[in-house]
């Protein structure tokens, strides 16, 4: 039995339906990430799991128990918010212990768990400070600490890194991965950043407009996307989409997709274009090529050099071509 099960969860706000029949099975100890563009319903789904919103229909089960009617505090979950949401008038220690105190834990247990979490997150020197006296990264660690001391069945993270600067984001990302390894607790994590999703997740759930587009491990989604949306969303730089007629594909194929890293440039090739722009990143080079009215991204390893305006051919292995029908579905 999984540690989280969603069965046909739907949610409407008034007339607007924002989630359509979401079903999902999460195994014990898995790191699951919801990704999708802004407004696709990730946060809403997470809040339904937490019990902060009611599902319009469908079931939420945590550790095998149906929790639809339970308040958030009794679902065995802990949540970390994008805005940290620390209690501004309480010290770090009290911020972390409030939930346990509410649950009626003894003082010794509270003390022990707070100490343990503070050790783990390197918060010990700040226990008596207020949130206003901490840096952004420290606040984020306190928010994580507040979740850790509850020793939940399930951690819920809603874009926990989006308020941090780039360097801190990488550090905290690694810390969260370590935390998961150490605690082994199931984590459901929301982000719109596909790099975060690729690096952290055991499995990724790609959402669009309240539908699940595909569920799978990062490499499954990268190598074997079900449709044009997932293909374009996973991978950076994004997959190039071209008119299928260019390659003389049969009528059933409407669009072909090529990953930037699957293309090499040469004098000849089945598709021809002109170089439009170069981006030198050191380890590799992004080359933008005009093909008809489309701009194709090519990723060359190492430091490549081409003259802007030069005519080139695009080469690729035949098995690197992804084919999609008119509705955007993958043709395998």
């Amino acid at each position: 039995m999984g540690s989280l099960t969603l069965k046909d969860v739907c949610k409407s706000f008034g007339q607007v339906e924002v989630l359509h029949n979401i079903s999902l099975e999460v195994e014990e100890g898995e790191f699951i990430i919801f990704v999708g563009p802004s407004g696709c319903g990730k946060s809403t789904l997470l809040r339904i799991i937490a019990g902060l919103e009611d599902a319009t229909s469908g079931d939420v089960m945590i550790a095998g128990k149906r929790v639809n009617a339970l308040p958030p505090s009794r679902r065995g979950i802990a949540m970390v918010f994008q805005t940290y949401a620390l209690y501004p008038h309480l010290t770090v220690k009290k911020n972390m212990s409030l939930g346990l105190k509410q649950a009626g834990e003894s003082r010794a247990v509270i003390e022990e768990r707070v100490d343990k979490a503070a050790q783990m997150l390197e918060l010990a020197p700040y226990l008596d400070r207020r949130p206003a006296e901490l840096s952004g990264g420290q606040r984020q660690r306190v928010a994580i600490g507040r979740a850790v001391v509850r020793e939940p069945e399930l951690f819920l993270f809603d874009e926990p890194l989006s308020n941090l600067d780039a360097a801190l984001r990488v550090n905290t990302r690694i810390e969260i991965a370590e935390l998961h390894r150490r605690l082994g607790t199931t984590i459901v994590y929301v982000t719109h950043d596909q790099v975060e999703a690729m690096t952290l997740a055991d499995r990724i759930v790609v959402l669009q407009d309240g539908h699940v587009e595909q569920v799978g491990s990062p490499m499954e989604l990268y190598n074997d996307p079900d449709n044009i949306f997932v293909a374009g969303f996973i991978g950076s730089p994004a997959m190039n989409f071209l008119d299928a007629a260019l390659l003389g594909e049969p009528d059933s194929v409407a669009t072909i997709g090529l990953r930037p890293e699957a293309i090499t440039l040469g004098d000849d090739g089945p598709i021809r274009g002109t170089i439009s722009h170069l981006e030198h990143l050191g380890a590799d080079t992004n080359i933008y090529v005009h093909v008809g009215d489309k701009l194709v991204t090519v990723r060359a390893f190492g430091q490549a050099d081409f003259a802007v305006g030069a005519e080139v051919g695009l080469n690729f292995a035949p098995e690197a071509v992804y084919r999609f029908d008119k509705g955007g579905r993958r043709i395998r």
């Binding site: 809040r47 937490a50 019990g51 902060l52 308040p71 958030p72 505090s73 009794r74 979950i77 802990a78 949540m79 918010f81 994008q82 805005t83 940290y84 949401a85 620390l86 209690y87 501004p88 008038h89 409030l98 939930g99 509410q102 649950a103 206003a132 507040r146």
Partner: protein, 279 residues
């Protein structure tokens, strides 16, 4: 260089304007204060002069404290003002929380209904209020005054407070829910401390009119036991003779408690503003 001089000129002008305003605003208060310490003759002969050893007299204060039940009136006023403020803030904040936090049918309509009172002066309903108080036997009680002032203060309080409560982070309240706080604890422990400056503003807005009101005490509670300070002070203003010493002393004393309340609330106000700034 020019900018600096320009700023300095601005600063001087601003200060001049503020000082002028302060003088104008304080002038009557100071006149009342200095004259309350003078003999009757001196009040009329040199009204602008501060008390000298010759003209100094405490006769006004003696009369006030001896005659009538001044301390009792004082107590009545204080009970009515503090009681009304307490209920305005409590019920106003609770209604504002419900309106801003919960989605329910008729939320907007309810908000509008509660705000209509801002535009309709409660005195228009005096006759109905009096009939109601007579029917419920509340005439000549302090409770009657507290009820009326609470009702008249609530619309603006709800209006202002619900605006502020909408700005309290939703994540913070949700974090409280996940930690198992009840809705009441979320309201009292998380939300109220964060909107304290707004509550102080509401308190200051409501305090002075309640303290100074003559209308409702005269109509609803004119009895000796329930007289408020403003009503009680009227005994010194006669149709033919007015005991100016007593009137001025009475007024001077009446300023004190409002000032103390004001200092309490305005400190909250300033603390709120600065704590927001260094966040």
């Amino acid at each position: 260089m020019q900018r600096v001089r320009h700023n300095r000129l601005n600063l001087a002008l601003a200060h001049a304007a503020l000082i002028a305003y302060t003088i104008i605003a304080l002038f009557p208060v100071v006149i009342i204060l200095i004259n309350s310490f003078k003999t009757r003759k001196a009040i009329f002969r040199h009204p602008l002069q501060p008390p000298t050893p010759d003209t100094f007299s405490l006769i006004g204060y003696e009369t006030v404290l001896k005659q009538g039940d001044y301390l009792h009136y004082f107590q009545n006023s204080l009970i009515v003002t503090v009681g009304s403020l307490f209920f305005i803030l409590l019920f106003g904040a609770m209604a504002a929380f419900a309106l801003s936090e919960y989605r329910f049918r008729g939320n907007t309509l309810m908000g509008l209904y509660l705000a209509i009172g801002i535009m309709i002066p409660i005195r228009l309903g005096t006759v109905a209020i009096l009939q109601f108080m007579v029917a419920t036997g509340l005439v000549n009680t302090l409770a009657a005054l507290i009820l009326v002032y609470t009702a008249s203060g609530l619309p603006l309080a709800i209006f202002i407070l619900s605006e502020f409560m909408r700005q309290v982070s939703a994540d913070l309240k949700d974090a409280g829910r996940i930690d198992g706080l009840s809705e009441y604890r979320i309201f009292f422990r998380l939300v109220v401390p964060l909107v304290r400056p707004a509550m102080a503003t509401v308190a200051v807005f409501n305090m002075i009119p309640i303290w100074n009101d003559l209308w409702f005490p005269l109509i609803l509670a004119p009895g000796e036991a329930t007289k408020t300070l403003t009503l009680g002070s009227q005994v010194f203003i006669g149709q033919f003779v007015t005991n100016w010493n007593a009137v001025l002393s009475g007024l001077s004393l009446a300023i004190l408690p409002v000032m103390i309340l004001y200092v309490i609330f305005s400190r909250q106000l300033i603390r709120g503003i600065t704590s927001g700034a260094v966040k």
